[in-house]
Symmetry: C2
Subunit: 445 residues, 2 copies
């Protein structure tokens, strides 16, 4: 029996643990799951054979003892804790897999990992993860035909299923709300468009969107991710003329969201005075010029240039009761923390809500002197509030990758991403049985 | 003879050294000036008796030997180097004076400085410096009458003299250009207006200005400083309903400057790709959406909503040749560095140019049940490009403060600001002979 250890039984662990339990006997593994929260462990582990450990990873001795002799470790802990696990894996000679971004610190271990003949797999969830795999499949197919890639665009969105879009934003939080509030912050957006490097400051990102239609699901709106150029070399697109990666929302979302950005309500860099006794209305007013008699509503319209007949936008803002006298009740909170609280009241999934993942790639290429265009898209919906499409699309690819590693089907060593055929072919193929299907289509240009 | 040591012979040292040399025999001082640059030392020191030291303050032994036994040290070095000097002063029991902001590190020495019976005077230049002194004089006069302060506003601007306002911005760099490009960055602006805390994000600061008229000099436009509340306790204004501190420019400046802010051209957080071979036009275009045929001019108008007949604004932008094919020629430069280079070409003082300092305070107060208002304003012009009003208003108050310390007229000890009568009365009185005069006037309300 090979020992496999999963650290963390949170949101993204649901499907991963389920997958490993299903495949446990075929793979001859003894599964161990470690989390501080006993209830989570009991909820997520359904097999009697799975060993549950209520433990903190701060208990280094426990972690070392457990990892020693294991065949594979999976870390679903917060990304900042991966390195500690990685170092123990390196010392004890155990493969490691995560769904998180490959950090600089992790990258720095690459040579050592190679020397120890180990696999440290990163970015093998949804985004990052399935985005890499489906993009590389599409790009490599075109290259195999002899095509030269000219443009590459890619968007992903974690949204709600169409029949659950029961608010004016057609959006709810399906993952970490804080990431949504802070989206696009922390530096200018960079991308390349027709050979020109382009930069967008934060306060303009949500006004530079692109509309994309996906058959059967209508229109989506994409805003740019921070660094679209990050994977240029990874994808072998050094000479590409356009490279743009972004996030999907429903049309109209970004323009309304930009109202919060323009106010400064998404700022996480300072604490507001008296935030505890402030009302929602006070919160909005604190970003508006003082006036002895004008209402907050009027000042907001005037400040942000929102016309009386711009009903769609106004309805979105009003939906959060931002003009009400409800108390915020958060001590020493930043604008972003307050906004998150206001949004969570309305944007939380109800018991009947189901989420939806949408991913879309577009490639323009040249084949035998002719310019061509291909799209690849994925739409998949969640089952309910706990068996979400997000958890499935994050956990399942990682589970399949674990299987491939345990079966010895991966020859690469070092700190790697799932961008090669040995990963993406079997993973994308098996994902189809999990209702994760890409549709490719050729477009006229 | 008392030894007085000045570290740094840069811009703000001109008048300080001059003042100390003039008063050297009356004060019985032996003046030492230390700078790395021999030419600067020769240029700034005009008395034979002044001892010039071409030395780096990194030479700790030299600094310690020189400071030992001195009566007073003045640091005009970059603010980050004050602490090193301060620690040597503390160890050797010597008073210290600077024109820089009182840093947290300096503040932390307060108890030790008090215990050693020393004065470490900070913020005794123009802004900070004269602003504190003139504000405290105005506020304390009102308090002495029995008035209760309700509102306090204060603006300062380093500008050019009216007859040198020969460009559409009516502005040139008269001090550190980098600070102008980065103005208002680094966190939201905070102030209080009629009892309401107000916050403005960076991209809105230059659109929330106030117009102020100063007799004989016309109108000025003020935008808010980062933290208007910083001196609330210092000034004894804990209960004030409105407190707002800002920077003066000529009307129309801020709206045009905001175009650069909206583009993202003032961002100093990343390096632009290929900045060396980029033209001014490419620089502007990199912030605008791609279009196969529209001109950069048209895209800029459309992006920033600049109407064809908004001639004043457009003239300001065109003034910098931003649509030209001139090369930038800066390697790995941030947008802010590139913008600074573009601006410096046009906004540098010519030989005949003279600068101008404008300061203005407004206080609303209640006296015997009646609401009243007082303004205090200063306008002073420079003599030429080297004897600037900026250098005079920074160096002279510090020089006078040195005299007061050397004469033993200051009883306070510790890390202090010149906000008490023992400083501001004699300093403001003597500044009048340096053409630094405040005019107070009562306004009807």
């Amino acid at each position: 029996m090979k020992k496999v250890i999963v650290f963390g039984a949170g949101l993204s662990a649901t499907y991963l643990i389920h997958y490993l339990e299903q495949n446990a006997s075929a793979l001859e593994i003894e599964l161990h799951v470690v989390d501080l929260n006993e209830d989570l462990l009991n909820e997520k582990c359904s097999s009697d054979k799975t060993m549950k450990h209520v433990q903190s990873i701060k208990n280094v001795e426990f972690v070392q003892d457990l990892v020693k002799g294991a065949a594979l470790v999976v870390s679903l802990l917060p990304a900042s804790l991966h390195l500690q696990i990685a170092q123990i894996c390196l010392k004890t000679g155990v493969h490691l897999a995560t769904a998180s971004y490959l950090s600089e610190e992790m990258k720095a271990l690459n040579l050592q990992v190679e020397e120890e003949n180990l696999i440290f797999l990163n970015e093998c969830g949804l985004d990052p993860g399935i985005d890499h795999m489906s993009a590389m499949k599409l790009l490599n197919e075109i290259r195999a035909e002899g095509g030269k890639i000219l443009e590459f665009e890619s968007f992903t969105g974690g949204l709600v299923a169409p029949d659950c879009e029961d608010n004016p934003w057609r959006y709810k939080f399906t993952w970490n709300p804080r990431n949504v509030v802070l989206a696009a912050q922390g530096g200018a957006v960079r991308f390349i468009h027709n050979g020109n490097y382009k930069y967008i400051p934060y306060h303009r990102v949500f006004r530079r969107t692109e509309i994309v239609e996906i058959e059967g699901y209508g229109k989506f709106e994409g805003y740019a991710n921070r660094d679209s150029l990050k994977y240029r070399e990874t994808y072998g697109l050094e000479d590409v003329q356009t490279m743009y990666r972004g996030t999907f929302r429903r049309p109209g979302f970004s323009r309304a969201w930009n109202c919060f950005v323009m106010l400064g309500a998404t700022d996480d860099s300072y604490e507001m005075e008296q935030s505890e006794i402030m009302s929602y209305r006070d919160f909005i007013n604190s970003f508006l010029p003082y006036h002895p008699s004008d209402s907050v509503e009027l000042k907001l319209r005037q400040y942000l240039n929102i016309f009386q007949d711009d009903v769609d936008l106004w309805e979105k803002l009003e939906y959060f009761d931002i003009f009400s006298h409800k108390k915020i009740g958060l001590k020493n909170a930043s604008p972003a923390q307050i906004l998150q609280k206001i949004l969570q009241e309305k944007w939380s999934l109800s018991d009947d809500d189901r989420d939806m993942i949408v991913m879309w790639h577009k490639v323009v290429y040249e084949l035998k002197g002719e310019k061509k265009c291909k799209e690849s898209s994925l739409v998949t919906e969640g089952k309910d509030r706990s068996e979400t499409a997000m958890a499935r699309t994050v956990g399942t690819p990682l589970g399949i990758a674990c299987k491939l590693i345990l079966q010895g089907k991966i020859d690469q060593r070092g700190c790697i991403l799932p961008i090669t055929e040995d990963f993406y072919q079997p993973i994308l193929a098996e994902l189809e049985s999990w209702d994760i299907n890409f549709k490719e289509k050729e477009l006229s240009i």
